[in-house]
Symmetry: D3
Subunit: 129 residues, 6 copies
């Protein structure tokens, strides 16, 4: 993987997130460094940095997809946090998750909402601490 | 189901779509009329008409989720068409679908893109006809 | 695979279904005969012939699961037909499918209902022919 | 959402469950109150209270679907508990879960059975306490 | 996307397949050229060309995964064809698909086997033509 | 279920695994003994003991499928452990998991890699203890 793509992805990640990005990078680091590198280079360097769609819509789309799939709770929480970091409101995130009840069923939406509550609570406690 | 919710959903549907909505209503009609009614009342009357998130973001979120799930090609095409009807550009739809390669894999994204191509082509031919 | 289990499965299948069973066996025959044998022996010989749950509840449970998964339309139609063969009413099948809107979303339920309509129509035409 | 549908759903829920319903309502309450309301109104008020299928078959169908999907362990345990509350036997629940090995594979069935064991154990301990 | 990665992916693709690769490239071409490029560059340039696992094992793993997911029949057929192109035998492919009955259920395995039959038949007819 | 199939499955399991098999059998024992028996008889007695595909390829295929599905983390860890037991290298397992980023998305691959890390660490600590 070219260093250029990785650095572009890293810059994209850092531009987007706050504390959640550092936490995500630490989690990624603990894994296969090759997969970490690919994730940063492809997801953030190649795809999310593309023009043509604003970051807020991109994060809401990811929150929608991960809520619907229901198989990646860790990543769902990370992307809810990133959605907040790029300027989505808590209400917008809640609306997208509620909407998934229509397309993926109520259990998926309820689990998505539980993830959002956890992220919101973590942020509130961080601010209060 | 209350007539009020159904009518609210129908109004929402008609406000959103063009020809695709009529096609969808015809398809729904052919099925259990109870399920048709619930779909209109719940999906469009209760959820999509909620304030707090604009219709463009809602449709992009649905396109993302249905592309990621990969189990509802008919509905995916209908929502790509509705996304266009509420003002999303073809490029925005393509971007959301490409992004799903990251979160649900390349086959999901490729199948989503094939669906989009089909919808776009249908519109182009319709306009030319 | 023991002939005994296969024959037990075959007897179970024949006791359950009508024309749909023969169609299913023909379809199975066209595939790997080992997988055909396993399907008959395990699904029908080992599992569906177990006491402890009546066949009507078993078929409704399968219709529910295949509707929710959304990945096996051929098998869903076969099991809707079998559900009718073991005495489920069309209304019961419709209810189970509508219920899946709650647990797996409206697209899954709408596709399940389309499958049921197709099976019902096929039976109506068969009877009229 | 109309108060009437919500109250109908609540009445349905209370008629069905025992302690599990209260636990579920508490869990729901902790989330978006809008989503809570929709769940009660739609799932219990609109769908599960429909005539045409008995509650025992409905709960077995839901246990089947959630076992097959494998993405909603909290809701699966709640519905196993509700299945018991509406009169399903432990053996019937076990049979439905075993049957899912055929339609969704052994890991799904094994995880479903682990959920059932947990619910059964919780009830046994509750009774003994 | 760098031309180098794309060309590496293309070389990998061409080294692997026979006619199926050309068919796949044509199919890809018909879609978003950006997504085509990413697929070639990432899937074939970055991942499948990595040392550490032979191509036969890689293709069998992909056949296993796509059979289990059950959401990408077009890609499943393409990868069954590629598995043959890199030296897997028809029996090995059948065994992997049969094995998926254990991990993803019989409908997934039966649909996977139907896909394999179709690919095998296409090759037999091609040879005879 | 015939004792012969169960014993064949048990022999296959014991031939494959080391400590992980005993842990798996204990876990299975805690569940419905009928489902335990079926798992051993069908998965190990009928399927995995078939000639036509070596055990290393079989385990890599299962790791691929369970990583892609993302719904069975307990079983994924067990099969990563079994893959090591039948002679797969850690690198081969990592490669299969990385490859799943292409076919099922990065979250699935990242969660699969986290499972592998956990299994590898458990083995390293066991050896050191």
């Amino acid at each position: 993987m070219s260093e250029e793509r990785y650095n572009k992805g890293l810059a994209q990640l850092e531009a987007m997130g706050g504390e959640s990005v550092q936490a995500m990078l630490n989690q990624l680091e603990d894994m296969s460094s090759d997969l970490t590198g690919m994730t940063v280079a492809f997801a953030y360097g190649d795809v999310l940095s593309r023009p043509g769609l604003d970051l807020r819509s991109r994060q809401l789309a990811t929150v929608a997809a991960l809520t619907a799939l229901g198989t990646a709770p860790v990543q769902l929480r990370a992307h809810i946090d990133m959605a907040l970091a790029v300027g989505c409101t808590r209400d917008e995130i809640r609306e997208v998750i509620i909407q998934m009840a229509v397309y993926a069923g109520f259990p998926a939406a309820l689990n998505g909402m539980a993830a959002a509550k956890e992220v919101f609570r973590g942020r509130d406690e961080g601010e209060m601490g």
